[in-house]
C-alpha cells in the first residue's frame, strides 16, 4: 500500500536511469544515510562504534571489492585478504615515508599498489577459469604474506613483523576518537559504494557481466577479454586494498601479517555468497550477517545464562555458537541460494502487491 510506484512518471532519460527509480526507495535511502551519518554518532556508544559498526563497514568494502571480481566479472578469487594486506602495509609505508602526502592520498596509493598486485595475479585468469583460477589466486595469498614476513622494508624492520598505524590527520584534523574514525570509514565506504554502483551500470560493468556469463560470446561481440578481466582484478584489488588500509588505521590500529590469512579470504568469499553474488546491497548484507551474527549469538547466550541463572559450561556455549552459525548459513542458502539480496528483492516485490496479492 505504502510501497507503490503508481503515479510516478519518468519524463526524462535521467529519471529513467537513476539508481533508485522509485520515490519511496530514494526517501528510505536518504533516511538511512542520514541515520548513519547523524543519528548513529549521536546515540551509539564506543562499543557499537569501534567493535561493531566500523569493522562491519570495512568488511563490507572488502566484500564489495570481491563481489566486483567474483559476482560481476565471474572470476573466482581466494586472494582477498592478501590484497587487503598489501593495502594495509603499503598505506603504512606511504604515511611513514612520505608524511607530507596525507592519509587519504596514501590510502589511494596503497589501493593502487594492491591493484598492481591484483593485475599480476590476475594474469592466469586469461588462460584458466573457475576452481583452477581460485588455486592461482591462492598462490597470491601465500606469496604476499610470505613477502611481508620476509622483506624487512615493508614492516620498517620491525622484529616481530607487526606494524602500528600512525595517527590519522586530514588537514590538521585528527581522527582519533571512535566516532571520528567511524565517520571517516563511513564516508569512504559510502563514496566507494556509489562509485561501484555506477561503475556496474556503465559500459565497463556490462562488459564484466558479459564476460561472466560467457566469455567466448563476449569476445565475439567485441569485448576485449584481456583488458576486461585485468580491469576487474585491478578494480577489485583496489577496493580490497583500501579496505585493508582502513582495517589497519580505523579499526585495529596494529596489524600483523597473520591478520590477513586465508581464513579472512574465505570469510569474505562467504560474505559474497551469503549476501548475494553480483549485488552491491548484498555485499553489505553478507558482511553484516557474517560479522554481526557470531557477536549477537555470544551476547544472546550471555543474556540467557544471566536471565535464567543457568550455569552452562562456557566451552559448550562457545562451540554451540559456531554450530548455530553454521546451521544458519546452510538454512539461508537452502531458502535462497542467491543470497540475502535476492530475499530482499522478493520482499520488495511482495510489498508492492500488499495487501492485495493476486
Amino acid at each position: 500500500m505504502l510501497y507503490r510506484e503508481a503515479g510516478q512518471f519518468k519524463a526524462t532519460y535521467a529519471q529513467d536511469q537513476q539508481i533508485f527509480p522509485i520515490r519511496q526507495d530514494r526517501i528510505a535511502f536518504a533516511l538511512l544515510l542520514a541515520a548513519a551519518f547523524i543519528v548513529v554518532p549521536l546515540i551509539a556508544n564506543q562499543y557499537w562504534l569501534s567493535a561493531i559498526l566500523t569493522p562491519f563497514l570495512i568488511l563490507s568494502l572488502a566484500t564489495l571489492g570481491l563481489n566486483i571480481l567474483t559476482g560481476y566479472a565471474g572470476q573466482l578469487s581466494l586472494g582477498t585478504a592478501a590484497f587487503m594486506a598489501v593495502g594495509a602495509f603499503m598505506a603504512y609505508n606511504f604515511v611513514l615515508r612520505m608524511p607530507w602526502l596525507g592519509v587519504i592520498p596514501s590510502f589511494i596509493l596503497a589501493g593502487l599498489c594492491a591493484a598492481a598486485v591484483g593485475i599480476v595475479f590476475g594474469l592466469p585468469s586469461l588462460r584458466i577459469k573457475g576452481f583452477y583460477l581460485a588455486v592461482a589466486t591462492l598462490a597470491c595469498q601465500f606469496f604476499v604474506l610470505w613477502a611481508i614476513q620476509r622483506i624487512g622494508w615493508i614492516t620498517n624492520y620491525s622484529a616481530s613483523g607487526v606494524i602500528t598505524a600512525q595517527k590519522i590527520e586530514i588537514f590538521a584534523y585528527a581522527f582519533d576518537t571512535p566516532v571520528r574514525k567511524y565517520l571517516l570509514t563511513l564516508a569512504i565506504v559510502a563514496v566507494m559504494a556509489l562509485l561501484a554502483k555506477n561503475l556496474m551500470r556503465s559500459e565497463t560493468g556490462r562488459a564484466f557481466m558479459a564476460v561472466r556469463d560467457m566469455d567466448v560470446a563476449a569476445s565475439v561481440i567485441g569485448i576485449p577479454i584481456m583488458k576486461t578481466k585485468l580491469l576487474a582484478f585491478a578494480i577489485s584489488s583496489f577496493y580490497c586494498g583500501v579496505a585493508g588500509g582502513l582495517y589497519a588505521y580505523t579499526y585495529l590500529g596494529t596489524v600483523e601479517p597473520e591478520a590477513f590469512t586465508l581464513d579472512l579470504s574465505f570469510r569474505i568469499l562467504f560474505m559474497v555468497i551469503i549476501g548475494g553474488v553480483g549485488s552491491i546491497l548484498g555485499s553489505f548484507m553478507g558482511a553484516a550477517f557474517i560479522t554481526l551474527l557470531p557477536i549477537f549469538l555470544s551476547v544472546l547466550f550471555g543474556g540467557i545464562s544471566h536471565a535464567t541463572g543457568m550455569e552452562i559450561s562456557h566451552a559448550v556455549v562457545s562451540n554451540l555458537e559456531v554450530i548455530i552459525f553454521g546451521g544458519l548459513i546452510i538454512f539461508f542458502l537452502i531458502v535462497e541460494p542467491q543470497g540475502l539480496a535476492r530475499l530482499w528483492q522478493i520482499a520488495k516485490e511482495k510489498l508492492r502487491l500488499w495487501p492485495f496479492p493476486h
Binding site: Q46, S160, K167, L252, T261, G303, H306, A315
Partner: protein
C-alpha cells in the same frame, strides 16, 4: 525489519547484562579467553585456573577486603578482531569498569596497547605480548609481567652454557632456532643474533609455517646442521609435531629446549614416547601439590563449583599459569586498595598504580601458598617486567620434572635493546617518556 529487530535485541541484551552487574563492592575482571579453535586446549586451561582462583578468593576471604570479584566470559577465538570486540564489550562493565585485561594472545595484546592506554585499562600480558613494553616509561598501561620473550631467551642460553660448563664453552657451538612463523615466533630473532655475536655460537633460524604440522624439511635441515641445541619456539600443534619429527630424524630430545608455550602436558602427551627427555622453560610449575591449588580444591571444587569439567587438568601447566595470572590480578587490586582505600572497587587507573608498585617477595609468596609455584615479583615504573627468571623442566614420560632453580635472565643485554626499541616506538608515536623519579 529483520535487521532492526536483531539490533534491538542486541541493544537490550547488552544493556541487560551491564545493568545486572552494576552493584557496588564488586571488582569486575573480564575473562576474555578462548574455548574453541586450534588453541582451545591452552586457552580453556588458563581460563579455568584464572577464574577458579578468583572464585576461591571470593569463597575463602570474601574477595579483597570485602570487595568480591565478578567476571564475564567472552570468546576471543585467539582472533584479533574478536579480541578487540570482547575488550570493547567488557571494558565498561561492573561498578568501575574492567580492572585489567589479560588478552592471552600476542596479536590481541598488540591491538589493545593503544586502546587500553586511551581507556586507562591496564593490559597485562604475562609471559607473552610486546617485549619492549617492559619499558614502563613509554608504555604506562602495558605490563608484560614476570618474563618477556627476550629475557627468557637469554635464560635459555644461560642454561645451555651451564650444561656446557661455562658461558665461554658456547663458542663454536651450533644452535637452531625453530620458530612458528608469526609475530610471536619471530620476536626473539634479534636477541639471539646479538647473543650469537657475544658468545661466538652459530645460530640458524628455521621458520615453520602456521599451523606447524608439516616439518619434514626443517628437520632434514637440522639433521644436516647437527646442532648442539634446538630451541623450539612453537605453539599449539607445532610442538608435538616437532618432538615426533625429532625422534624420526634421530635427534636427541634432551637437546631440544622449548619456550614456555611449548612446555605443557598438551604438548608432550600427544607426542607419546618421543617426548621423553624433552626440556622446556617455565615461569610456573605443574602439579597440585601447592597450598594454593589445594585451597582451590577445598573452597571451589569441594562445593561443586569450578570451571574445569575434566578435573584431571587441575594442576596442569596451563591451569597453574591461569592461577598465576589471577594471583597478579588480585594482588594488584589489593595493592591499589591499600593506597586508594580499602574495601572499595578499584578503577583501571588505580589498578595500574597497584601493578606498578607490585612487590611480591618469597615470604609473601609463602603466605599466598605459592612458594616455588611462581617467582618473586618486583615491578617499577622503569621495569614493567618485574621478574625475569625461568625454571627448566624435563618431561619424564609421565610428568614435568623441574631440573633447575630459577635461572635469571641477562638484563645487561636485554634492557638496552628494550629501551632502544621502546624509544623508537615513542619517536614514531610522538610519546614523551614519563619521568620515573616523579612517579609516586
Amino acid at each position: 525489519m529483520k535487521r532492526t529487530t536483531l539490533a534491538l535485541a542486541l541493544v537490550a541484551s547488552v544493556g541487560f547484562s551491564a545493568g545486572a552487574l552494576a552493584q557496588a563492592k564488586e571488582q569486575f575482571v573480564p575473562a576474555n579467553y578462548y574455548w574453541v579453535g586450534p588453541y582451545a586446549a591452552s586457552g580453556s586451561g588458563i581460563a579455568g585456573g584464572a577464574i577458579d582462583y578468583l572464585q576461591m578468593l571470593n569463597e575463602r576471604d570474601g574477595g579483597i577486603n570485602g570487595v568480591k570479584f565478578t567476571w564475564e566470559k567472552c570468546e576471543t577465538e585467539y582472533n584479533n578482531a574478536r579480541g578487540v570486540e570482547c575488550y570493547e564489550r567488557s571494558k565498561k562493565k561492573g561498578p568501575t569498569g574492567a580492572t585489567l585485561i589479560h588478552p592471552l594472545s600476542t596479536g590481541i595484546t598488540y591491538s589493545l596497547i593503544e586502546k587500553g592506554t586511551a581507556d586507562r585499562i591496564p593490559i597485562v600480558s604475562v609471559g607473552y605480548g610486546r617485549t619492549d613494553a617492559s619499558d614502563g616509561r613509554i608504555f604506562p598501561y602495558v605490563f608484560p609481567l614476570i618474563t618477556n620473550y627476550w629475557s627468557q631467551n637469554t635464560a635459555k642460553i644461560k642454561f645451555m652454557g651451564m650444561k656446557a660448563g661455562g658461558m665461554d664453552k658456547l663458542k663454536g657451538k651450533k644452535i637452531v632456532n625453530l620458530y612458528h612463523d608469526s609475530a610471536y615466533g619471530k620476536e626473539t630473532t634479534p636477541v639471539l643474533d646479538a647473543q650469537a655475536k657475544m658468545y661466538g655460537f652459530q645460530v640458524t633460524h628455521l621458520a615453520v609455517p602456521h599451523p606447524g604440522n608439516e616439518q619434514q624439511a626443517q628437520w632434514l635441515q637440522i639433521r644436516q646442521i647437527q646442532p648442539d641445541w634446538v630451541i623450539l619456539r612453537g605453539w599449539g600443534v607445532m610442538n608435538p609435531t616437532a618432538i615426533k619429527a625429532a625422534q624420526r630424524a634421530g635427534y636427541p630430545r634432551d637437546k631440544i629446549v622449548g619456550v614456555w608455550w611449548a612446555g605443557a602436558e598438551e604438548d608432550t602427551i600427544p607426542a607419546g614416547d618421543a617426548a621423553k627427555g624433552y626440556i622446556a622453560a617455565a615461569f610456573n610449575v605443574s602439579g597440585t601439590n601447592y597450598p594454593v591449588i589445594q585451597d582451590i580444591m577445598k573452597h571451589v571444587y569441594a562445593k561443586g563449583k569450578g570451571e574445569m569439567d575434566d578435573k584431571s587438568r587441575i594442576g596442569s601447566a596451563y591451569y597453574n599459569r591461569g592461577v598465576v595470572f589471577s594471583i597478579i590480578t588480585s594482588e594488584a587490586v589489593r595493592k591499589a586498595q591499600e593506597h586508594f582505600g580499602k574495601g572499595k572497587p578499584m578503577t583501571g587507573e588505580q589498578v595500574r598504580w597497584g601493578l606498578e608498585n607490585l612487590s611480591i617477595d618469597n615470604a609473601y609468596l609463602k603466605k599466598l601458598g605459592a612458594s616455588d609455584f611462581m617467582q618473586p615479583l618486583k615491578v617499577s615504573c622503569m621495569d614493567h617486567e618485574g621478574g625475569g627468571a625461568v625454571k627448566f623442566q624435563q618431561w619424564d614420560g609421565k610428568q614435568w620434572k623441574v631440573i633447575t632453580d630459577w635461572i635469571s635472565s641477562d638484563q645487561k643485554l636485554v634492557r638496552p635493546m628494550i629501551e632502544a626499541s621502546a624509544a623508537q616506538y615513542a619517536k614514531e608515536k610522538g610519546i614523551t617518556p614519563r619521568d620515573c623519579s616523579k612517579e609516586k
